[in-house]
């Protein structure tokens, strides 16, 4: 055999991969271009799509890449930058990179198996099955979309109302805050007046209570010293009786030990209780030898006489509440006030002229006398408050709390108003709404536009995975599907040997809000897939089905 012949034979065998059908792999929309080229026998029948050059029809699908853009080889793997179109009859056509033509792998996108035609592998046509599954999946997707769109419409109408009501709420609150601020100013002024009265009053009461205490003390001290004397004499009686008892028992012990030893032993044998008693006394005495063999009880109270000064002297404060002035105490009766007033007047005159003149009880007394049956006007109430520091403080505190509450509500409302709540504020209703998933040993929770946390399922405290920081994916390079397809939570708890924790939430259309999966692709950088009606879109851009 001639070498050349052998070569020719093998060439056929090894080059049979060449596609003979110039229309193989051509996208239907381009078919007419290739058909026109095939019909022509010009050497420039086919123009590369990039216009770089023209080639004869025989160069189309001849398994050699002539065009830089790969357009001449839709049916082979010759051009790395070309695509192959599979017809997929019974399903829908698909394009795959040319690198997957005749690579020995049945590409799932080409259910008709047309991507593998060189005989190395036989790919069955599974389009009927794939098509049916695809249709079913499409129908399911459509159902989900329908449900999702319905919910999304609710979100949108909520958002429209919420915006109007927020504006009104802010307006109302701000007006209320103005009112309450004015009232706080009033109360602050009243408070300083009332507190001046109060401090004078306290000084007076303290003085009174000291006087009363002084009056009582001498008798109390006398009682105390009498009691102490009584205790001392009963101790002395007890001590002398103990000594007496000891000497009797000592005598018994002497008998036992010396004089009538044997007889006594016999007695002890007959009376075991006596023996035990003696034994116990011996132990008792033994324990006291270091103290001279005698037990003495001492009263450890010094000094013998309790003096007035030992209570702290005249400077000691007395609880003013215990001596509540019935003319200031709103619950006290007018009668008691009158009594007290009389006493106060007397004391005041007796001690100093100053106190009764600024005595706060005058107000109540005056009112009680002047109009016992009338209700209080605002100015009258203020008049009362002016002399009631406790009440004015309470009122002021209540007013301040209320103001702060309203202010924080306004801040919250304004913050929400300033928030990017997505297209048409569709996320309005979902702000702060939380969804969870268990994944391996953890429970993950995200609250939309708010925060993300992780808790061990076995119990224990949660870890902060971050606060909502922005729309868009973690890395800019992934932004192809639009920034509202991702929600970033950042700046969570710091990670040992790593960054602050963060979560990238990828959003896809779903009938309800649900976490589909969670993973941690890099240390402490989490990725979640979440379904939500909020991102459902009808293909074409209108939310109509």
């Amino acid at each position: 055999m001639q070498p050349i012949l052998a070569l020719a034979f093998l060439s056929v065998a090894l080059t049979s991969v060449i596609a003979t059908d110039p229309l193989l792999g051509v996208h239907p929309s381009k078919k007419h271009i290739f058909q026109a080229a095939i019909a022509s026998d010009a050497s420039s029948a086919f123009a590369c799509f990039d216009g770089s050059k023209s080639i004869p029809a025989s160069s189309i699908n001849d398994d050699f890449c002539d065009c830089e853009d790969g357009s001449d080889e839709p049916g082979t793997s010759a051009c790395n930058n070309s695509v192959f179109y599979c017809v997929n009859a019974g399903h829908i056509g698909a394009e795959i990179p040319s690198a997957r033509v005749n690579d020995g792998v049945c590409d799932p996108s080409c259910c008709d198996g047309s991507d593998e035609y060189n005989g190395a592998i036989k790919c069955p046509n599974v389009c009927a099955k794939v098509g049916a599954e695809f249709k079913k999946a499409e129908q399911e997707k459509k159902n989900v979309l329908e449900k999702g769109i319905k919910v999304k419409k609710e979100y949108l109408s909520f958002a429209a109302n919420a915006k109007a009501s927020r504006t009104k709420q802010i307006k109302d609150l701000e007006s209320e805050i103005r009112n309450i601020t004015a009232r706080i100013d009033d109360l602050t002024a009243l408070k300083s007046e009332a507190e001046a009265y109060e401090s004078h009053m306290n000084a007076l009461l303290a003085q009174q209570s000291r006087e009363e205490a002084k009056a009582l003390l001498p008798q109390q001290l006398a009682d105390c010293n009498t009691r102490k004397q009584e205790l001392r004499s009963s101790i002395e009686t007890l001590n002398s009786r103990v000594t007496q008892l000891q000497s009797i028992l000592d005598h018994l012990m002497t008998l036992k030990n010396v004089e009538e030893g044997a007889a006594f032993e016999a007695l002890l044998r007959d009376k075991p209780i006596l023996k035990e008693t003696l034994q116990r006394y011996d132990d008792f005495k033994h324990g006291f030898t270091t103290q001279g063999g005698q037990a003495v009880i001492e009263l450890a109270v010094e000094p013998d006489v309790v003096s007035f000064e030992s209570f702290g002297g005249a400077e000691q404060d007395t609880d003013p509440l215990a001596l509540m002035d019935p003319c200031v105490d709103p619950t006290a009766s007018t009668f008691r006030c009158l009594l007290k007033s009389a006493r106060g007047l007397f004391l005041g005159t007796f001690e100093t002229v100053k106190y009764p003149l600024i005595w706060p009880g005058w107000g109540k007394l005056f009112t009680a006398v002047k109009s016992p049956f009338s209700t209080l006007s605002k100015s009258e109430e203020n008049e009362l408050l002016r002399k009631d520091a406790a009440k004015v403080r309470q009122r002021l505190q209540d007013a301040e709390i209320k103001k702060r509450e309203m202010e924080s509500k306004v801040t919250e409302l304004k913050q929400k108003e300033g928030m990017d709540l997505g297209p048409d504020n569709v996320w309005d209703k979902l702000v702060g709404q939380c969804i969870q998933i268990n994944s391996f040993e953890y429970n993950y929770e995200i609250c939309f536009l708010d925060k993300a946390t992780q808790k061990p399922i076995s119990g224990g405290s949660g870890t902060d995975l971050g606060k909502f920081s922005r729309w868009g994916p973690r890395a800019e390079s992934k932004s192809s599907s639009g920034k509202y397809s991702y929600m970033m939570f950042e700046n969570g708890a710091h990670c040992w040997n790593g960054p602050h924790r963060s979560v990238e939430v990828a959003l896809e259309c779903g009938a309800e809000n649900k976490i589909i999966s969670v993973s941690e692709p890099s240390k402490c950088e989490y990725a979640m897939k979440v379904q939500t009606p909020a991102v459902c879109e009808v293909p074409g851009g209108h939310d109509e089905l």
Partner: protein, 655 residues
């Protein structure tokens, strides 16, 4: 950076003479290397012991002083006289590198850790979506059940076989990590049985050595014990390693051995091995023996039909017989990219040619520029794997956006195009011991200017690569030995030899084609290396001043041992006087049936010739009288589809 391997080999070279010294000892050792002024020579000088040593005319000389703590010692001296000769001589003693699997020279994607089956699926799909080829997806320690190797985390990897098959169907593979420490757990059969069989490394008192590593308290198999290696190899059988398939290969890490609780994070020196040998005597060989036992396990599980692929961190003299190594835990810093070149050159010269450094740096986060430059560099290095620490951010090639995704894609594709050339170099290394990645002085031993160059390298004898390893470098100063003529590999235009400055925008990897080279390529990019095994070739024919070029290509089935029986093709291409002549040689002892089959099974057509440096016009290109289409521009002639078959003999005439 820690050192994970040691080959006590030193090569000395001067114009006209190379020698090598191999100090065969596995204990702790020190080597002092001292440069001395000419008149002040030490009394003991290497050249005094070399009978053919030429008299030094240089002002400086080098003296080395070797010290080992203990153990046995063999000293071997290889006389060259060229660096390639020294490599051949040394590896004739230490062993030639094993022919790797074809997939293994593609790109590997690793991370500590791909978390679960979904993650594996997503990363795999990411490569397809971005049309970036890759061959192997790696799983680090977290894939196991509590760091018990040969097991799976059943929650995260419930269907390991399905996972591997899904990769396998696309021509891809998976690698799992299998470390030498065994968790102390009687419910863990590997550990229990190794203990019961008495195959563990012992402490100084003869009890089983107890140390701390990833799983907590652990045992270590004694790979010095032949029964230990046999036991280990058995574990790789599909019946023993549950959830393993033929698509699964192995990575041996922590095998220096790493012992967290031990002195210098390794074993106490007075630990005892097989035969009562102290660890101090054999420390450096321990990991290599695990590598060996693992490779034997791979052969065992396939009944000697499938070539092993095992990556090891520890290595020693002769590691090249067992598989690949990498330089260990590096960092995402420019300095670590830069040093990867001299490290890999040194390791290659020491015989271990299938080596690489983790792309991007293991620790820390590379920025997009560093990562891009690292891919560009590593695409031309023998073992090509991206890997990252568990604390780092994700860095799969498409995560940095444009232009980086495209630049990284281009780097990896550049690798895949030269796979036929690279595979041929691996064959050459397996036959001659010459490393794939070579210092310039190995190719130009008489050019003194090349002696100190370690920021550029030769890939085979045809490509000179001078990667950019400095941040923001807008140019590099390249040395192109003037004894040859050079072309820019990207443009095929001639470039001035000697010292020359090359502009290096981010897309540029200064790569040069040596005139006189025929470089076989496969320009069709498939998803994985093995999917393109029957794809047509492109031959780059770079003409020298005489209008000649030569090259050769080795082809086999890429995975089996059939090549040992002769099932391979070696085609030699010679271009001279306007004729490209392809001749094939095969082993003479191949059976006639094999000879008949081999081209049919392994042959593929040549779809394109690229003639570089053509002087004057070309009127016609013909093969067997058939005229071929061609186009000619700026001295580059591209010939369309000669339809000739690699493995057959043919002539193409350019007139």
């Amino acid at each position: 950076m820690a050192l994970y391997g040691s080959v006590p080999f030193l090569m000395a070279h001067k114009k006209g003479r190379s020698v090598g010294v191999l100090w065969v000892n596995a204990a702790e050792m020190w080597v002092d290397i001292e440069k001395l002024e000419g008149t002040n020579k030490p009394s003991l000088q290497m050249q005094d012991y070399i009978p053919f040593s030429t008299t030094s005319t240089q002002k400086t000389s080098t003296s080395t002083h070797w010290m080992s703590e203990s153990g046995t010692l063999d000293l071997l001296i290889f006389l060259g006289p060229t660096p390639a000769d020294v490599s051949a001589q040394m590896t004739s003693f230490t062993g030639r590198s094993a022919m790797p699997q074809h997939f293994a020279i593609g790109y590997h994607q690793s991370r500590w850790n791909y978390l679960d089956e979904q993650d594996v699926q997503d990363v795999d799909a990411g490569f397809d979506e971005h049309q970036i080829p890759y061959d192997v997806l790696w799983l680090d320690i977290e894939h196991t059940n509590g760091k018990r190797y040969f097991t799976w985390d059943k929650v995260k990897f419930p269907e390991p076989k399905v996972m591997q098959e899904e990769l396998g169907i696309k021509g891809r593979k998976m690698v799992t990590i299998i470390d030498p420490h065994l968790k102390q757990d009687d419910a863990y059969p590997v550990s229990k049985r190794a203990k019961d069989l008495g195959l563990l490394v012992k402490n100084k008192d003869g009890g089983d050595f107890d140390g701390w590593c990833w799983p907590g308290t652990s045992y270590w198999i004694d790979y010095l014990n032949p029964a230990g290696r046999e036991f280990w190899a058995e574990q790789f059988k599909y019946t023993n390693y549950e959830g393993s398939t033929k698509y699964l290969y192995t990575w041996n890490d922590m095998n220096e051995p790493s012992v967290f609780s031990g002195p210098e994070i390794t074993m106490p020196k007075d630990n005892l091995h097989f035969g009562g040998v102290e660890h101090r005597d054999v420390h450096n060989i321990y990991g290599a023996l695990q590598h060996r036992a693992t490779a034997e396990g791979h052969r065992l599980r396939s009944d000697n039909t499938d070539r092993p692929f095992v990556l090891s961190r520890a290595f020693f003299i002769g590691t090249q017989r067992y598989g690949a190594i990498w330089t260990g835990d590096n960092t995402a810093e420019w300095g670590h990219l830069e040093i990867s070149i001299p490290m890999l050159l040194t390791i290659g010269v020491s015989g271990v040619t299938f080596a690489g450094a983790d792309v991007g740096g293991f620790f820390g986060n590379p920025d997009a520029e560093l990562l891009t430059r690292w891919y560009q560099t590593a695409a031309f290095q023998p073992f090509f794997r991206g890997h990252a620490h568990i604390d780092t951010k994700r860095r799969e090639p498409w995560l940095f956006g444009e232009p980086y995704t495209s630049l990284i894609r281009e780097s990896i594709q550049r690798r895949y195009r030269i796979l036929p050339y690279l595979y041929t170099l691996f064959w050459e290394a397996s036959q001659t011991g010459v490393p794939i990645m070579r210092p310039l002085m190995m190719e130009f031993p008489n050019d003194e200017e090349t002696f100190g160059i370690d920021n550029a390298f030769m890939l085979g004898s045809g490509l000179l690569v001078h990667p950019v390893v400095k941040q923001g470098a807008s140019s590099v100063n390249v040395y192109l030995p003037p004894s040859a003529k050079w072309y820019d590999y990207d443009t095929y235009q001639p470039i001035k030899s000697g010292r020359t400055t090359v502009q290096t925008p981010l897309e540029k990897v200064p790569t040069f084609l040596k005139a006189g080279t025929i470089l076989p390529r496969r320009d069709r990019i498939r998803r994985a290396a093995n999917l393109g095994l029957r794809d047509p070739y492109t031959l780059i024919i770079a003409l020298d001043d005489f209008g000649t070029a030569r090259g050769s290509m080795y082809v086999d089935d890429g995975h089996s041992y059939e090549f040992e029986k002769g099932a391979y093709i070696i085609t030699d291409f010679v271009y001279e006087k306007g004729v490209l002549n392809a001749t094939s040689s095969r082993r003479v002892d191949a059976t006639p049936a094999l000879q008949k089959d081999v081209v049919e099974k392994l042959g593929a057509r040549v779809e394109r010739l690229v003639l570089v440096g053509v002087k004057g016009g070309v009127k016609s290109v013909t093969v067997g009288g058939r005229r071929l289409e061609f186009k000619s521009e700026k001295g580059v002639v591209v010939v369309k589809d000669p339809k000739v078959i690699v493995g057959e003999e043919w002539k193409i005439v350019v007139a």
